[in-house]
């Protein structure tokens, strides 16, 4: 290998404003380049997916999380460890169905939209933080978990909170023990 082993820098932190402002400028640029909100949303999701597939490696290396046994544990790790590590916030987790494969992350405060007061005019369908959905989806896919991740509520659209819905798509194989009578 031509490059020396990667030495992790001691300081993992960066000015959050830089991240938030960069993200805002990126969304603004995408809005200039794409007329339809759906296209911007898709682009953000795609970029997030690319980030998530790589971020998960960094996360697993630095967080030393234990192996999860169900979707609920996984969702709690995303909320309590990953969000905390990368964005400094901890969303709360709710389970949305009895099959226990659909969950929500509820964010009272969304750091990425900190400087956004409202969506631009004519952009009412824009999912401003769709990058986050892509990141979660990409990260989960790299650990062999397919999931649909979308915004269910968005403060920027007038909802009380921001809610990200994660629906895990494949049920783990259930072995039903058959009792011999």
């Amino acid at each position: 290998m031509s490059r020396p082993a990667h030495r992790r820098p001691e300081c993992h932190k960066i000015n959050k404003d830089l991240l938030v402002l960069t993200y805002g400028a990126l969304v603004a640029q995408l809005c200039e380049d794409h007329e339809k909100d759906e296209d911007v949303n898709k682009y953000l999701d795609k970029m997030g997916y690319g980030i998530g597939t790589r971020l998960v490696e960094d996360f697993l290396a630095r967080s030393c999380v234990r192996r999860c046994h169900n979707y609920s544990e996984i969702t709690h790790i995303i909320a309590e460890v990953a969000f905390k590590m990368y964005l400094g916030v901890t969303p709360s987790v709710t389970c949305n169905n009895s099959s226990k494969n659909a969950f929500s992350l509820i964010l009272d405060k969304n750091p990425l939209s900190e400087f956004v007061e409202e969506l631009p005019a004519g952009r009412s369908s824009l999912c401003y933080c769709n990058l986050l959905c892509g990141i979660i989806r990409g990260a989960l896919e790299m650990v062999h978990l397919a999931a649909d991740v979308t915004f269910l509520q968005d403060r920027l659209k007038g909802d009380r909170v921001t809610e990200i819905g994660i629906t895990f798509l494949k049920q783990p194989k259930e072995r039903k023990s058959q009792r011999r009578k």
């Binding site: 031509s2 490059r3 020396p4 990667h6 820098p9 300081c11 993992h12 932190k13 960066i14 000015n15 959050k16 404003d17 830089l18 991240l19 938030v20 402002l21 960069t22 993200y23 805002g24 400028a25 990126l26 603004a28 640029q29 682009y43 795609k46 970029m47 690319g50 980030i51 790589r54 971020l55 960094d58 590590m85 990368y86 964005l87 400094g88 750091p111 400087f115 990058l131």
Partner: protein, 175 residues
């Protein structure tokens, strides 16, 4: 009298932290997506794509500059402003100071970073030198944007001879 570090004031205002890896990955993804070759190949094509990244960096630099405490905006000397970029801005953004600042005292400044954080994960040495400008475009724009908020119009270019070191050439445009 040496001006108090502007970013000390920013910290007191409640400077929050995020993880640097997230920004690095976001930056890399932006380079990958927004530096697509222009459909019209030609010398203008690459320049346009670089400009998109620079203009995003410019907006961010302007906004970062606007978040500085008011006393910072009282800079009068060009050299003070460049020193501010090398020390305070670089520390605030990249957690390190610029390694050297040279000038011809006629409006041209060369800022050298021997270990630029956005290049460090890429390679060490001559590998990927040709790819490096894509990864510096955003930061060029950032410098330009911050200078713009501080009242200086500038042109910023970069050169890389060996990763992860790079030089930013800042030419202050006279009004």
């Amino acid at each position: 009298m040496r001006a108090r570090s502007a970013w000390a004031g920013v910290r007191r205002l409640g400077w929050c932290m995020a993880d640097k890896v997230l920004f690095e990955f976001l930056h890399t993804e932006m380079v990958a997506e927004l530096w697509a070759p222009h459909p019209d190949p030609g010398p203008g094509g690459q320049k346009r794509s670089l400009s998109i990244l620079e203009s995003i960096g410019f907006r961010v630099g302007q906004a970062l500059g606007e978040r500085l405490p008011q006393e910072t905006l009282g800079f009068r000397e060009e050299l003070d402003v460049l020193k501010f970029l090398c020390k305070d801005l670089w520390v605030a953004v990249f957690h390190k100071q610029m390694d050297s600042l040279r000038t011809n005292h006629q409006g041209t400044y060369v800022l050298q970073d021997n270990s630029f954080p956005l290049l460090v994960p890429m390679a060490s040495g001559l590998q990927y030198v040709e790819e490096a400008p894509k990864f510096l475009a955003f930061t060029c724009g950032l410098l330009c944007g911050t200078l713009s908020t501080l009242g200086f119009q500038s042109l910023v270019t970069t050169s890389v001879t060996s990763l992860p070191a790079c030089k930013f050439q800042v030419v202050i445009r006279k009004p």
